[in-house]
Subunit: 138 residues, 2 copies
């Protein structure tokens, strides 16, 4: 098993640009790059929270009403959306999860804002939407 540590915790927001100044003002957190993800009908921004390159916050903003993130925002409002754990071997970890009857949203790795990602359905473990991420090769 190659899962962990926490890479990021994602928060759905109405507007990244309107939210970022408050993270700086309240917590002293500075944003990284903003990624435009038209295929996911969203845009995201990572905020490092310390010297470790993992342990980031991710702000996720829907760009229209057509995504799961947009539905989340419409139904529940802004708030915690998912937790991302790192995987050093995502295909093997997904196969191991599938063999344990875990409900995978993505049965194969797909490109994320950074690296390769796959999501696990909240029904699988404690109502949490889990993301697994293999960071890009550096």
């Amino acid at each position: 098993m190659t899962i962990g540590p926490i890479d990021h915790v994602a928060v759905v927001v109405r507007s990244i640009e309107e939210s970022l100044p408050r993270y700086a003002e309240l917590f002293g957190l500075r944003p990284g790059r903003i990624y435009e993800l038209p295929a996911q009908r969203s845009r995201v921004c990572f905020l490092p929270t310390g010297p470790d390159p993992a342990a980031r916050l991710e702000l996720v903003q829907p760009i229209d009403g057509e995504s799961g993130v947009a539905r989340f925002l419409s139904v529940r409002g802004e708030g915690l959306h998912h937790v991302c754990l790192r995987s050093t071997d995502l295909p093997a970890d997904l196969a191991a999860l599938a063999a344990r009857d875990v409900e995978l949203i993505d049965t194969a790795p797909r490109p994320g804002a950074e690296g390769q990602v796959a999501f696990v359905h909240p029904r699988s473990l404690n109502g949490v939407l889990w993301e697994l991420l293999t960071p890009p090769q550096t």
Copy 2:
């Protein structure tokens, strides 16, 4: 400003004991100590997710129907509850937040399962219940 990194992400669960085997089976995560917190009418268990002592998951289980965590479980079911960021000077950080019109649930540090903690109301920033934690002196 002395806030960050992420110390833990908390998940409300019906039963810590029934949840823990699944974290081991699916993610290879082993639990730390279980804390009984009668004053908070809950019990919690931390699961390290990597070599960094921060970046943990926290499972939170209400022990009766009388807490905010119990109400969360009753209304929303199991799921993500709060994000905890470390603070090296909690009284100063709380004063700075109050000066910026942040709605504090705890206006002064109080004992948590570990160290001193204070919670910030979700209305203050993107619908997220934020916890600030100064770890115990080691």
